[in-house]
Amino acid sequence: MPLLFYHIRPEAIPKTRYLMGELAADKHVKYIISIEKKKDNFESVVMEHLRMNGAYWGLTTLDLLGKLDAMMEVLFVGGFAGNIGHDPHILYTLSAVQVLALFDKLDVLDIDKVSNYISGLQNEDGSFSGDIWGEVDTRFSYIAVCCLSILHRLDKVDVDNAVNYIVSCKNLDGGFGCTPGGESHAGQIFCCVGALAITGALHHVDKDLLGWWLCERQVKSGGLNGRPEKLPDVCYSWWVLSSLIMIDRVHWISKEKLVKYILGCQDLENGGISDRPDDAVDIFHTYFGVAGLSLLEYPGLKAIDPAYALPDDVVKRIFFAHRHCRSDLSLARRRLLLKLAVVFCN
């Protein structure tokens, strides 16, 4: 029996846009805060397993825009938090660690517990599973390496072996896939290059070959796609661009055309950024658009670290600043932060 529903889906209705030219920062701040307040429709409840990632996307964007304070109030009234009762998975762990790093509150974590959870997911061949059910993916390698590095616990895993596994996922085009033999994909490449950068193993990357593949992701409109023959998408402004920066080949694409493309994907009326001009905006693409502009040194944005995907000053604080004494946290704040932490510690 042929498929039936597939043919009767309503088409997405394009939105009207104003002329574009520059980053509508204030609109984007308003947009991010508004999503947090509106949660009772089907589209948002079915995404609830991703709420922790949403928190990271929203909050990092606000920080890059220099507006993290705007969220403080919303967040501490109840806000994003994690989702209790769901099974732990390494995907949510990184977002939670990144969010706590943003607020300089990593000390609310039971760091040993978190790092034991992550190191327990490493397999004999050096790969990482996403959870106890064993799915393996180089994304999980990145998450493990990035989290443990932020928590200063990389010594908990076999780093050489982790690097070997990532290298075994390298393809003849210079890119990387999910598992050995998997097709090269810009998102997977970011994860592999990021993990190799963090572990000081970038010499395993053929920079000219990979750089060539990555710069061929730029299409005529200036936007970047994630694989050959695909349409451009704002999120690859992050995955491709950060990879090019890490391997020092970012001058192989046209930065001006990419800036123009990202700015063209803004909703100037209601805020937010979409994957392509005239599509509906979402928090995921809003984050990647702003993060991409930050990598492109767009004026007025904080710089972001291409490997850790956190603002530069946050990364500096993690690795260079001495830990200061725990500041006075209000009870409500502390309760919320513990709630955030509980998602992956339960």
Partner: protein, 410 residues
């Protein structure tokens, strides 16, 4: 009726009805979320095949079922989701508590409740990982082959409306990995390839789907790999822009090459020759496609792989085969292809311009992959063609790359 008008009791009725439908028709193979106004379109689309009794029995404004197709009204999604999640989470909590009691080996009725609620929940939220996990836990405990097969069916059903659902794909891999010791594995693998092709047909360049098919390669027998290479060829020539399908072929070819290397010890040069022919065939076929479908990036990328691998491994690694690899004539052939593709008959015609860019970058890329002294040979031949000017003119946004390449040639 507004979404908020549903009381808890009414929402529970909806859930019960959905679970009853799911239970009564195990062959449902497609689910769709349908706006109430589209229910009438559905009736027309389905035609008058069903008897009038069937219609009156299953027809209301919330669900629609006919010919193993289940439609759910978009108006009831939210209350239905809330009820399903609540019922599932409550059953799971109770189950976990009972599991932890000493001497208790789990409660059968609780288990079937979890299986039923998680199924309803996944229909509404396909990436609800906790629901997938609870099913894995119970199926693993029961160790019954039909239950594993049911999980493949459920995952296929979810993929019918959410072809990119990561959790649904990952659930399949978990099932296949878990039953991989069973003799049924080879039959499952054949079915998996068909499923991927069916999904890839309407979900173009679906990375998750093709990645799943690539993952299967390591579970295939030698014969299956050869069969897959043969079988996927037709699909590929009908979808020449789908890089994922060509990558799948690359994965298969590399696996065949691995097998050749393993059998070399047995001096089975017959298999080597077969492999040589496979590679040569692929190069010829690719060239024919390049000439038929002008300006397709995926075809040229496939050629990069074929040619560089051919030069680096096949020509040198396959011993005991009675052929002589002539590097010079291979390169001459590629340069001939370049010349035939790099002329742009009409500047306004985008496809030909793309073809010229792809052919020029192909040959420059290949040159980079070849070691000296052969590289110098090709560079000599390319100098006369002034590719840099062509590339800088047609593809100015990558001028730094072209400059960098030119500098490295000096």
């Amino acid at each position: 009726m507004s979404e908020h008008a549903y009381s808890d009791a009414k929402a529970l009725d909806l859930l019960n009805e959905l679970e009853r439908i799911l239970g009564s028709d195990p062959l449902i193979d497609e689910v769709g979320f349908v706006h109430p106004s589209q229910f009438s379109t559905l009736k027309e689309a389905a035609g008058g095949s069903a008897s009038s009794q069937d219609i009156s029995e299953h027809e209301n404004t919330n669900f629609w079922i006919r010919d193993h197709k289940l439609g759910i009204s978009t108006q009831v999604l939210l209350p239905l989701y809330k009820a399903a999640k609540h019922a599932f989470m409550a059953a799971l909590r109770e189950y976990k508590t009972s599991e932890n009691l000493p001497g208790n080996s789990g409660d059968d009725s609780l288990e079937s409740e979890i299986m039923s609620h998680s199924k309803a929940l996944l229909m509404l939220s396909c990436d609800f990982g906790t629901a997938w996990n609870s099913r894995k836990f119970i199926v693993l405990k029961k160790q019954l082959l039909p239950m594993f097969i049911d999980e493949l069916l459920l995952s296929a059903l979810i993929l019918s409306y959410a072809p990119k659902s990561e959790r649904a794909w990952s659930h399949r891999r978990w099932v296949i990995h878990t039953v991989s010791g069973n003799s049924i594995l080879q039959r499952i693998i054949e079915g998996e390839s068909e499923l991927v092709e069916k999904i890839a047909e309407r979900s173009k360049m679906n990375y998750r789907a093709w990645n799943h098919r690539c993952w299967l390669v390591s579970y295939m027998t030698k014969e299956q790999v050869l069969h897959q290479l043969e079988k996927s060829r037709n699909w590929a020539s009908l979808h020449v822009a789908d890089n994922s399908c060509f990558h799948y072929r690359r994965r298969l070819m590399l696996r065949i090459f691995e097998d050749v290397c393993h059998t070399q010890a047995d001096h089975s040069s017959g298999y080597n020759l077969k492999f040589y022919n496979i590679w040569k065939d692929e190069l010829d076929w690719n060239e024919a496609l390049i000439k038929r479908y002008i300006g397709r990036e995926a075809l040229w990328l496939h050629r990069r792989f074929l040619s560089s691998y051919w030069i680096r491994h096949i020509a040198t690694d396959l011993h005991g085969v009675s052929y002589q690899f002539d590097f010079g004539s291979f390169i001459d052939h590629e340069l001939f292809l370049l010349d035939s593709c790099s002329t742009i008959p009409d500047d306004d015609f985008e496809d030909f311009q793309a073809q010229a860019i792809h052919s020029a970058t192909y040959i420059v890329w290949l040159t980079k992959q070849i070691h000296e002294p052969q590289r110098i040979d090709i560079q000599e031949k390319l100098r006369a063609r002034d590719l840099n000017r062509l590339l800088n003119k047609t593809c100015p946004e990558r001028s730094s790359l072209w400059d960098c390449l030119e500098a490295s040639q000096v």
